[in-house]
Symmetry: C4
Subunit: 195 residues, 4 copies
Amino acid sequence: MAFSDAVIAIVITLLALELKPPDAESGELLDALLGEWPTYLAYAASYLYLAVIWLNHKAAFTRIREMDRGLQWANLGILATLALVPWPTAVIAETARTGDLTDERVAVALYALVGAVLCLAWLAFFSYLARHPDLTNDEVDDAYFARERPRALIGFVLYLVAGAAGILIHPLVASVGFLLVPVYWGVTSHGVDHL
Amino acid sequence: MAFSDAVIAIVITLLALELKPPDAESGELLDALLGEWPTYLAYAASYLYLAVIWLNHKAAFTRIREMDRGLQWANLGILATLALVPWPTAVIAETARTGDLTDERVAVALYALVGAVLCLAWLAFFSYLARHPDLTNDEVDDAYFARERPRALIGFVLYLVAGAAGILIHPLVASVGFLLVPVYWGVTSHGVDHL
Amino acid sequence: MAFSDAVIAIVITLLALELKPPDAESGELLDALLGEWPTYLAYAASYLYLAVIWLNHKAAFTRIREMDRGLQWANLGILATLALVPWPTAVIAETARTGDLTDERVAVALYALVGAVLCLAWLAFFSYLARHPDLTNDEVDDAYFARERPRALIGFVLYLVAGAAGILIHPLVASVGFLLVPVYWGVTSHGVDHL
Amino acid sequence: MAFSDAVIAIVITLLALELKPPDAESGELLDALLGEWPTYLAYAASYLYLAVIWLNHKAAFTRIREMDRGLQWANLGILATLALVPWPTAVIAETARTGDLTDERVAVALYALVGAVLCLAWLAFFSYLARHPDLTNDEVDDAYFARERPRALIGFVLYLVAGAAGILIHPLVASVGFLLVPVYWGVTSHGVDHL
């Protein structure tokens, strides 16, 4: 857990690294700062996303008693994919700044792809736990992690739909979708009642 | 706590990343290094600020017995805002270097804004704990976190006043204020007596 | 362990920092993203490598009861070398992008060198534990860490062979080798059965 | 401890961030890599230094039973100063690359200054513990931390002497001194016998 916690903490803090003093002409700092709004939005959205992932991760691990090699790899799969999140976030912020519509479509497609792969990593993680009830705490219902799988699958579909809408309709539709999926994950998440 | 500790440790260390070998002509390193004094001051001030936050955070968590979902989100709100601190710090250092007074006003206003929002995040955190005494340790007085709220509120007002003084009078007035608020928070902070 | 965990978590996450929005002409983001494939491959290979190292590290430390000064230094030797891994990874990605065959040979030789030194650091670590059975848990067979030494030695030889093949035959041969060594280490690794 | 561990782990890993693919003409990567030797030396020296600091820090904290506010601040003083170490390290590597003797003198003076301040931070830390024996474990001799003070003071003097020698004689003399001080600290350090 210390390792997973550290990885998620680093990724969530790296997002803030995107925020730098803008290259502004002397006396035009205010305009330059206001013009960076896509970066602020991207920071907020991805911070929210990673915060929800951390809560889900914590909720899962309070129910896990021990880890075998397979679960270690499933967990490493989640960590590898979530470490990618700052990258499409930065790409979206960059294209929003330059404003080319083709590039914005590519950027939201990339974000949708990473989001969808992350959902698949969660699906693999939940499926592994559903097949290995001996790894979970005694008080956890054996069907608990089996019931978590549809949430990951729905997230996967939602990211693909948002990405497709971004390409076919308008990138902004995708961006709204990217904000809504973490909300869905957060609302349907199970609680962590202990420190 | 491991997660919060990691986030604060990363943010505090990222500040030091601002310190880089200056772009100096050959033989003029000394002048270049001395000319970077606003960056050193900004490093010192923000390090002090984040150190005080860490102590306050630790002081609060030694009094918390368990976390529910609401407290998790209140804590994530604090972490999200404090991760922003290196950004206005770098903006102030940058404008102090270029020396445009309009930009310096914008920079201190941005710092005041982030500082004020951080105080609001603490206010939300303390208020949540004041309304949920069941989350605190038995030996903690039920009114303890209710009494912490005015400290956050005063910090909020102080940041707004410092920012306004920076815009209306002179940015240096704001900078002095930014150094004093953490001192206020540090002096009024409650102790953490155990490791 | 908290310190080692933090170092490995930081190194593994720094890899993802290599992924940045590409410098693309307006409207050519897709081509630019697709052209970055060597970076993606390098991310995947080094993530896999560091993940295997983390599992091996964890597997070793579940068998260690206490650390003396010598074991501390052997562990710091491993951490120092693995912190280097993102560097030759970035050099390989860079040369794959420019496509000069001489540079690609130098890059794979550098990667092979770092990989081989890392195997030596593991060899020193395992040898120290083999000579100090008093540092391991009682239930651990005294010959356990002696039997781990050949794995490190074989890794060392494999990196040198892969590097030599990269110089004498073709850099791609080395790259395939770099992907296979972590797989060898992963497959022959001992389990960590508890959280 | 988790917080201190995280800060030291981040600083030690940031050093490796200095290592980047060099800006080389196509086909001249090998020369460019070999020409970066001052950076490699600086990485090695500062890694060694921070590793010794970590061991000393761990050795001190295994003897500490509880922390009060004063000890927290003394510890934060050490962390703030050691987070600076990568900065003069990078400045020395940079001046060794450009080769201007005046700049090299400034660079070693800066390194000596940071090293000396770090020793003062340790001196304050040890002095605080010497005056508060109630904070240490029962089995720790009351004079233990008083006896640690001369080590910090000698380190302080050694850094000033090395810096002065670098300015008056030659920067290389200072660099050799910077490599020797951590060795002195490492050799005279007290053990940490438990995990």
